[in-house]
């Protein structure tokens, strides 16, 4: 079939190597041992992320995000990172504050959904400092799934015929059985991924509740994976419900126990997002100076995630957010 001529290619840069054999050679060396993987955000960011690495963040922007890791990346001043802008919202906004990345695969950036757009993220992207390649939510999900499956690409029926394709790094291919045209999406094997989970054991066997977005595939696709967890559990809880294992130990390189670790984002069944605090982020970003001050106070001058949480209301705030998550109206009823 010599129809190669008709097949189009996206013109933008592919920031990562999709080669499945190269990925296999890495995974061959990745430890499969069930060993204690407990660590700290400081240690993980120092030892598992190098300037220039390509990183991905689990969850959905301001839902079930590993805030401690995102902040620590800014705190340690990591630079020239590549970033998977997959349904990224508050996580993107934080990394922008540190000007941590200089290339970005875009599905959804700059916005915080119904909350509005981030002025700082907009300035950073419109500045031209960041190399951009266009994708979509499904495309990045499938690029990550291709890697999780040990492939170098997956075919799909989206983005064809649009500028989204033109400014992507996808390629058109034909189905060898039907002649149907497909977009081939290159596998995405990130160097590093951080995922926040509800509970996991010291080996990284994890449970997650609620929408899982792409995190099961991301845990497999990434070369190095850290889990932050609301709480540690005993492995017996994993073994008593093996069909419930969301991420198995062999995907995981480090585990950090971080109660309230998705704050200011939503953690399903645990606490809702802190909308006032997220609005504060959007507000201060309007003035670059205010923004710098805010970031200094909230991230650069806090020792870790707990100081940041304390600064914004601590456990009492979390109790309020838990009430919102559970739809409890504390002004109504209760024992007098």
């Amino acid at each position: 079939m010599d129809i190669g001529a008709e097949l189009l290619s996206g013109q933008n840069e592919l920031f990562t190597d999709p080669d499945a054999d190269n990925a296999r050679l890495f995974f061959r060396t990745k430890s499969r041992a069930m060993k204690n993987k407990l660590s700290t955000a400081e240690e993980v960011v120092k030892t598992m992320i190098s300037d220039g690495d390509y990183i991905a963040i689990g969850g959905f922007g301001a839902n079930r995000i590993p805030t401690a890791i995102i902040h620590e990346i800014v705190r340690q001043g990591k630079k020239n990172l590549g970033f998977a802008g997959h349904t990224s919202t508050h996580d993107f906004q934080v990394l922008v504050a540190g000007e941590c990345f200089d290339r970005c695969d875009i599905a959804y950036i700059i916005g915080l959904e119904a909350r509005g757009l981030s002025p700082a993220a907009r300035r950073y992207i419109e500045s031209g400092k960041v190399k951009l390649t266009e994708w979509t939510n499904a495309t990045l999900s499938w690029r990550i799934k291709a890697a999780a499956m040990g492939l170098s690409f997956l075919p799909a029926r989206n983005i064809l015929g649009t500028d989204t394709f033109r400014y992507s790094a996808a390629k058109e291919i034909l189905c060898p059985f039907t002649g149907q045209k497909y977009a081939a999406h290159p596998a995405l094997y990130p160097d590093f991924a951080a995922i926040h989970v509800h509970e996991c054991d010291i080996y990284g066997n994890a449970h997650v509740y609620g929408a899982s977005v792409s995190d099961q595939d991301l845990a497999k696709a990434a070369k190095r994976v850290v889990l932050t967890t609301e709480k540690l559990i005993h492995t017996d809880k994993i073994r008593s419900n093996p069909e419930g294992t969301f991420i198995p130990f062999w995907c995981v390189d480090a585990v950090i126990e971080v109660p309230y670790g998705s704050y200011p984002g939503n953690m399903p069944y645990e606490y809702f997002s802190d909308e006032e605090h997220l609005q504060e982020w959007l507000k201060v970003e309007k003035d670059p100076e205010e923004h710098k001050k805010f970031i200094r106070k909230q991230i650069m001058e806090t020792k870790n995630f707990y100081e940041y949480l304390e600064l914004n209301g601590g456990i009492e705030k979390m109790i309020k957010l838990r009430s919102i998550e559970l739809l409890i109206d504390r002004n109504k009823g209760g024992l007098k």
Partner: protein, 256 residues
């Protein structure tokens, strides 16, 4: 006849297009409100999906994110993004709603950027998110938007999500699923569909208070007109009551 605002009209009209037993992927805001209204009126069996994985939730309130816990509150399934997108790709999802900064006569939508240099946009928007995917893979795409001649344009800075591309069969020839595409564009002034052959935007009905002239003058390209051009059936008092009292009591959306 009860009074109403343009958003209320658009939501009520959109809701009427969602028949019972259908599936729809929605985002936050008006599309979610339209789907909830449909459920509480003529489509109790309408199945609402959210792209992060939520399926058929019993929505306690408007979600602020398509991935927040409201989107799978007492849901039938809290799945994943690939699960939802593959369900669309398999042909199991009937409707979706999109928004954008620009739309052309073929229903192509721009939610990526304004300007002519992709690497240094004049104005940068969030990008596709799931918009291109849903516009590509769901059977019928709808849009609710205030209409003006800037937004309805023949000069697209960027085509983020596919409508009928260049019209005719060009959408199918590009490899997009057979029989899928834009279905209704619901504006403050009129309701548009698309011509069966040329796939150009065609006005089906004009909203109360507007004229054919208004509709064309607030559109940057030449519109087609249905042979039987009708008047849009305005929101019924019962629709408005449910929308205001049950669906959006805090007026988050209809208050805009």
């Amino acid at each position: 006849m009860s009074d109403y605002n343009p958003m209320e009209l658009m939501i009520c009209v959109a809701a009427r297009n969602l028949e019972d037993g259908a599936t729809v992927v929605v985002g936050t805001g008006a599309p979610c409100a339209a789907s909830m209204l449909a459920q509480k009126t003529h489509s109790p069996n309408l199945c609402i999906l959210f792209e992060a994985g939520g399926v058929a939730p019993i929505l306690p309130s408007m979600p602020i994110s398509v991935g927040d816990s409201r989107t799978f509150h007492r849901a039938i399934m809290a799945s994943s993004m690939p699960e939802i997108m593959e369900t669309c790709q398999r042909g199991m999802v009937d409707y979706t709603f999109l928004g954008g900064a620009q739309i052309d006569m073929y229903g192509n939508i721009n939610s990526t950027m304004i300007g002519n240099d992709h690497s240094k946009p004049k104005v940068r928007f969030p990008g596709s998110g799931g918009a291109n995917d849903l516009a590509s893979l769901c059977w019928r795409t709808m849009m609710m938007t205030v209409q003006d001649s800037k937004r309805f344009t023949s000069k697209m800075d960027f085509i983020t999500s596919p409508g009928y591309l260049k019209g005719g069969d060009s959408r199918y020839e590009a490899g997009l699923p057979k029989g899928s595409g834009p279905y209704r564009i619901i504006t403050n002034m009129a309701i548009m569909g698309f011509d069966g052959e040329s796939k150009r935007m065609k006005v089906l009905s004009i909203n109360p208070g507007y004229t054919r002239k208004d509709v064309q003058e607030n559109c940057g390209f030449e519109l087609l007109w249905a042979d039987r051009l009708s008047d849009t059936d305005p929101p019924h008092s019962e629709e408005l009551r449910i929308l205001r009292e049950v669906v959006d009591p805090h007026r988050y959306i209809i208050g805009r």
